[in-house]
């Protein structure tokens, strides 16, 4: 009954991967995104078999950084089962040290779209790639619609948890709509005419 769990940010069961230089593909989503509510002292028991969990970045800060060290979570993190997601009002530049340290811990980070037309997470992804030189997966979560995929892919996202009602087949077709671009992006430089 994962689709009704209020503790989760819901998406399709399949995740759309679009690695830099690769092709878009669908795969089962191994990660659950914990919304951060109903916190009674630790990560709630989500689903049977839900080993891999994206926790809110602010929750990580208050439980797993500095002198806050939640042993259970750290242990799971060391097994590669914990990532974080950034809310739109997380100022990632203010927590550069935690994020730098996270490079060795989090296999996946995500940035959240509370509503599809809120573009803050585009800048979050751009900063993760440009400023932090983030090499692991950066995933778009929340109100992720197929018409944002191309923009997201260009700023730095390489995985997309589409909203459950979105058509995955149409989604897969979004990435080759444009064969040229007129500004640089994470995926590549602007198109130049052959000399």
């Amino acid at each position: 009954m994962s689709t009704t769990n209020p503790n989760l940010i819901h998406s399709h069961k399949e995740i759309l991967h679009f690695p830099k230089g690769g092709q878009p593909t669908l795969a089962p989503n191994e990660w659950h995104t914990w919304g951060g509510v109903q916190d009674e002292g630790g990560l709630p028991d989500l689903e049977h078999g839900a080993h891999k969990v994206l926790v809110p970045f602010h929750w990580w800060r208050s439980h797993c950084s500095g002198h806050h060290q939640n042993a259970d979570i750290i242990e799971r993190a060391n097994k590669g089962e914990i990532g974080v997601w950034f809310a739109t009002d997380d100022d990632i530049l203010k927590h550069a040290e935690i994020i730098e340290a996270g490079k060795k811990i989090w296999p996946v980070v995500a940035a959240h779209f509370p509503i599809f037309r809120d573009g803050r997470s585009f800048s979050t992804a751009a900063l993760l790639r440009q400023r932090f030189n983030w090499q692991n997966e950066v995933r778009a979560i929340g109100d992720v619609l197929i018409d944002q995929l191309l923009q997201g892919a260009r700023v730095g996202f390489d995985a997309f948890e589409l909203r459950p009602d979105q058509d995955l087949t149409v989604g897969l077709q979004q990435f080759n709509l444009f064969s040229v671009s007129t500004q640089n992006s994470w995926r590549g430089k602007r198109t130049l005419l052959e000399a």
Binding site: R120, V155, L177, F178, S179, S181, T182, Q183, L193
Partner: protein
Amino acid sequence: MAMYKYDTIDQTLVDERVAQFRDQVARRLDGTLPEEEFRPLRLQNGLYHQRHAYMLRVAIPYGLLSSNQLRTLATIADKYDRGYGHFTTRQNIQYNWVELEETPNILADLAKVQMHAIQTSGNCIRNITSDAFAGVASDEYVDPRPVCELLRQWSTLHPEFAHLPRKFKFAINGAKEDRTVLLCHDVGIEMKKNAQGELVANIYAGGGMGRTPILGQLIKQELPWQLLPSYLTALLRVYNRFGRRDNLYKARIKILVKALGPEEFARQVEGEWAYIAKGDDNFTQAEWDRVAKHFTKPAYKNLPAIDNEALKSQFESELDANERIAFARWLERNVRSHQVPGYASVILSLKPHGTAAPGDATTAQMNAIADLADQYSFGELRVTHEQNLVLADVEQTQLLQFWRAAKKQNLVIPNIGLLTDLIACPGGDFCSLANAKSLPIAKAIQERFDDLDYLYDLGDISLNISGCINSCGHHHVGNIGVLGVDKDGEEWYQITLGGDQGFDAAIGKVIGPSFYADEIPDVITNIINTYVAQRTADESFVQTYRRLGVAPFKEAAYLNVKKKSKTDETALGGDAS
């Protein structure tokens, strides 16, 4: 022709954008894309849902058009609309009566002549505007068009800034006088040469109209032109991350700049820029060369310069008595001096007195103007902030012939810069955002002040009308501003005085309680009479206002105001179309 021509990259991008939008429209029509989610997608392609129909806003980047493009705009008006288009203050053209199903075909027609509607609306970087006299103005420091075009390309489908907190408008100027309302833009870019002769930009940020009109603040001086993409990325990134999203009316960058203070905002931009200033986003000389080669001077003849007095006497024998005054006035009001001896720039007035909405041109007019451009001005024309059209390169000795030809299309009313050259948004007749109608007010004022002798005597006065606080009619910077407001479901009009554009830009002050629609012509008359009674010899309206302050104008404005009951108001809606 001195205008940019698409290369295969530009053309491919626009064609692919049409295909993308065609698919989005198809998904909207088959119901898989709900209206709420389609809305930002159609807006980013200039498609609004208006009171009666869809409205399509087409970009005329930095105001430059070829005659061939204008013919396509005319054809579109005929084929998909009702035989006219509306030129806007931000160098776009709007069609008021299009069908959703047909918009992909309109965009495909536009793409064939290197035009599009990309980012003419929505919370993204909008069509970049500039000086309608770019490249020809006698007061120009540098030709801003290469930078306009480079930034047009850079901002087109920019992924990071596709969902900003609110719309984002650039204006770019390169002349001594500002004809772009630079300080009322989210970002104003002033191009000039530094002491070493290098092309640099001064950046003003945080200007805007709307509910909280604010003039932009200088936040960066002498930025080398090559670094514009990285600097603007930093600026937009700060805004994208920290601009308010909780309140539509506080979401523009002006609110962020005001809240932080210009110094702190500039500091944050510098902080971000430090990481990317040296990156490969920046423009290269090769890119400049690729774009700038299109903005070379057309094949001007080697002609002697003629001043207006000499011109008048030269044409004297060819003019009959009736024509003499009209032509002389037209020379003075509608013709501008040019960089090149023997040439002039001509403004075609789209402000007939009461017979068409300000900025409207019919299919026949557009086709005729295209012909005029071909015959007299190297096949090129421009759109002004005041919603008129400019033929920039007319030989002075051909001005009389030109005037007679343009007169047949009712395009030579010598009212440029005068009271009836007013700016007006489409208002409540079309726009679903509007609180009140604009066009009947414009018509009533133009009809009241139909006497050209009198207008000419009044001299420079700008009167701008907006149907709501979104300020599309730029009422805040009109010497006289008229703003439609809604009070208990009725249309009222608030008057502001003392607004101005250019580098002396000022936001007009509200004079007091608002008026009924049918009071406005009397109110304007009383304000104008005060000016006439109080002015000194050469004083313009705004100069008299600045000298005297608001008091005498305010007193006059309320002189004849009737205290009417609501039942007297039934005539108000009579002009609705």
